[in-house]
Amino acid sequence: MNRDILLCGVGGQGTVLASKLIAAAAMSSGYTVHSAETIGMAQRGGSVTSHVRIGDRAYSPLIPEGNADVILAFEPAEAVRNLTLLKKNGVVIVNRVPVKPVTESLQDTGYDGSRMIEYLQSKCAGLVVVDAEKICGELGSSRYFNVAILGVAVGRGQIGLSAEAVLREIEAKVPEKYRQMNQKAFYLGKRIGDTYAAQ
């Protein structure tokens, strides 16, 4: 299997953990995997991306344009920012809730993410819009959204990995204190993904 998965969002949203879970699940399922992420200065409130490349024909650590099978976007504008990486007929799973940068609050440009979702709808047939506020409302914290959106992708059938493989890594990688909530978040997301897969 060759599969390129891009995770994108804003520093602090937890893209790194989600990408680590995918990579670990791919490895334990017997695949070669490589990944790369933006860290360092760009991390502080900036746009972040994690590139996960499953399969033994990936040489560049970053996914080239037009290659991503799926984009997991934790923030609507970040999905648009990275859309050129998406393969023709690729799938975008995007969180509807925007993250406003300080610069927007200072100038108040009225950025609320809705224009981004409209644009994605016009460009991408395989779009799945999820609502982090709704999901996190059920979980009682925004902390678990990263694992929930991963659940959506697994349910939708885009990652090429089984739910069991990902759950095994949640068991192994997440500290016990947060494990149960992450499992719950994963199932919650997976249920949403399942309904899209059935359509």
Partner: protein, 608 residues
């Protein structure tokens, strides 16, 4: 132990352990910092490296790159295998000992890992360490993946010992921060070594020794180049009259486009200096056109041009100097694909989203975190200076972000420690203005002390602001002499910054909590009335190190004036549906906004 999924920097660390490294030193700097951290994790964790062995393992964050290199040089003279890590600008700091060490040489293998940062993604310069290798006459290795880095660093130790010279190892950001599966070996042991043998003719550098060794080095380096011609990292695949010469991450990009095609000749140079001429000549056999794909300087291109000239080869060399590739910035898989397509006369078959009608995207410049004590420190100085002419000299660290609006509190930023000395320079051009220097705690120890001594000795009039957050925050929270813990896992006496300043002769030193705005502003104002060198120590821990449970909230009486947003620009304060709100997930309850609010509409649970 099987395969572990690790970052390129950890692959380098694991390779060094497999090579039996005895002493490893470094100073944090993106993208190199995780090498020393991975050594700590594996050596003292799972591998129990050096435990119960006759030769143990020493690991340290040194105070700066020069110290790191000198500590390692001493150990290498004794025959120990040593690893030194830094980012590319760190090599400038370490260049004094390294240039001399290149002449003296080493006994134990010494590998100096210098991580280059094309882009630059988080650096001041785009300098190319391959050029430094040429300049210092030191061999250099240029890995193109984490897997290769793991193997190559072990080879680097062998070559270092074979030729008794330090060698450079130059990964770039995309190698350092890429993840790959690496096989972790068990039962690794630090290398046995003889110990220091006194021999002043060998270890004491004098002009005569330098001359003799310089001659030796110039005779030796072509031999190393010849040796490198059969090095396994220098590879050629495919056939054709057109050849692509590449190195480092660019090799991965070229492979990404050519995959396993046999009709394109791809020549990878893993050892750019001393250049493996025999290997390159073999690659050029029957080739009419060669394209060089490399990052930063046209290093391979120059070498091939030279080679073609010396050997009267009928080959056209293409690269940055002929307009095929950019001299600045990093390469990408897509940019490389375009270059290679053009070179091979192939069509672009890529299918991706047409993004020309993309809506305007919000810009996300890096900002100080919500609750960062630096924001409060900068704001206090800004308030204290209202109406006075003042210069604000910044430095390297998270607090460089104090330049962003609305704080706008960094007028200059040059290199590590420069803020303290540049403030003196500005003072001598304008003695009416107040000259401030901001420096972080780790930077203070790395290169701030000499600047303070300079100010006192030369009677400058400056206010030094030490932003002491008890960590090296920007590079990922490494300990330093002020934190009381070292990389051997020992709790050590903290070096007290106030006492250091007192010892240097600073007359007025005030330590304040920046989150108490009134107290901090009053202290700065007092400093501004005094002559000479004054120091403010703004002491409050980094929010990533010291987590809090408290949160701020906005009460009913908020009049929506947005002063909090306009004055301090905290990313946790957001306007939603025309109401100012605080993002609970981000807020740390620092309370600066509550002290700024004109109507007392912000507070914690206790204030309700």
């Amino acid at each position: 132990m099987g395969k572990e999924y690790v970052m390129g920097n950890a692959a380098i660390a694991l390779g060094a352990l497999a090579a039996g490294v005895n002493v490893a030193t470094g100073y944090p700097g993106t993208p190199s910092s995780e090498i020393i951290e991975a050594l700590e994790k594996y050596a003292f964790g799972k591998l129990r490296y050096g435990k119960g062995e006759s030769k143990s393992f020493h690991l340290e964050w040194s105070v700066n790159e020069k110290a790191a290199l000198e500590v390692a040089a001493g150990a290498a003279y004794a025959g120990a295998r040593t690893l030194v890590t830094m980012k590319q600008v760190g090599l400038n700091v370490a260049s004094d000992p390294l240039m001399s060490l290149a002449y003296v040489g080493v006994k134990g293998g010494m590998v100096v890992v210098v991580a280059d940062d094309p882009g630059p993604i988080s650096s001041q310069t785009e300098q190319d360490t391959r050029i430094f290798a040429y300049y210092s006459r030191l061999p250099v290795f240029d890995p193109s993946s984490p897997e290769e880095a793991y193997v190559m660093i072990q080879d680097a130790f062998d070559y270092s010992e074979k030729y008794n010279t330090p060698v450079l190892f130059r990964p770039t950001t995309r190698i350092c921060h890429a993840y790959a599966p690496i096989a972790v070996e068990e039962d690794l042991k630090p290398k046995e070594y003889e110990g220091f043998v006194k021999d002043s003719k060998r270890w004491v550098i004098f002009p005569k020794l330098s001359f003799m060794n310089h001659e030796m080095i110039e005779k030796r380096n072509p031999l190393i180049g010849e040796d490198f011609s059969s090095y396994s990292g220098n590879t050629v695949t495919g056939e054709g009259k057109k050849a692509i010469f590449t190195s480092g991450i660019s090799y991965a990009y070229v492979r990404e486009y050519t995959k396993d095609r046999e009709d394109v000749r791809v020549c990878r140079i893993a050892t750019p200096y001393p250049f493996p001429e025999t290997f390159a000549l073999k690659c050029l056999k029957g080739v009419e056109e060669a394209l060089c794909v490399e990052e930063l300087s046209p290093f391979l291109e120059s070498e091939l041009q030279r080679l073609a000239g010396v050997h009267h080869l009928k080959v056209r060399i293409l690269g940055k100097m002929t307009g095929n590739g950019r001299l600045a910035g990093e390469n990408t898989a897509d940019g490389t694909a375009s270059l290679v397509q053009e070179f091979l006369g192939e069509e672009n078959s890529k299918e991706n989203v047409d993004s020309r009608d993309m809506p305007r995207l919000p810009v996300r410049p890096p900002v100080l975190c919500a609750g960062c004590p630096h924001r409060a420190s900068f704001y206090a100085v800004k308030k204290a200076c209202a109406g006075r002419k003042a210069y604000f000299c910044g430095d390297i660290g998270c607090y460089t972000l104090g330049n962003a609006m609305p704080l706008d509190m960094a007028d200059t930023c040059l290199c590590m420690g420069a803020g303290i000395t540049m403030a003196q320079g500005l003072h001598w051009t304008d003695e009416e203005a107040v000259s401030f220097a901001f420096v972080g705690d780790s930077t203070f120890f790395a290169s701030g002390l000499t600047g303070v001594a300079n100010a006192i000795y030369n009677e400058a009039d400056i206010i030094l602001c030490v932003l002491d957050n008890s960590t090296t925050a920007m590079t990922g929270h490494q300990p330093h002499p002020g934190t009381g813990r070292n990389m051997m896992g020992h709790i050590v006496e903290k070096i007290d910054i106030a006492k250091v300043l007192e010892g240097l002769g600073v007359q007025r030193i005030m330590t304040v909590n920046p989150l108490d705005l009134n107290e901090a502003v009053a202290a700065v104002q007092e400093c501004m009335t005094l002559p000479g060198v004054k120091a403010m120590i703004f002491k409050s821990p980094c929010i990533a190190v010291s987590k809090t449970e408290s949160r701020m909230r906005i009460f009913e009486q908020c009049i929506g004036c947005k002063k909090c947003i306009r004055e301090i620009g905290c990313p946790a304060i957001i306007v939603r549906e025309d109401r100012v709100t605080i993002d609970e997930g981000m807020c740390t309850g620092c309370g600066l906004c509550a002290q700024v609010c004109p109507v007392g509409a912000i507070g914690g649970d206790a204030d309700e």
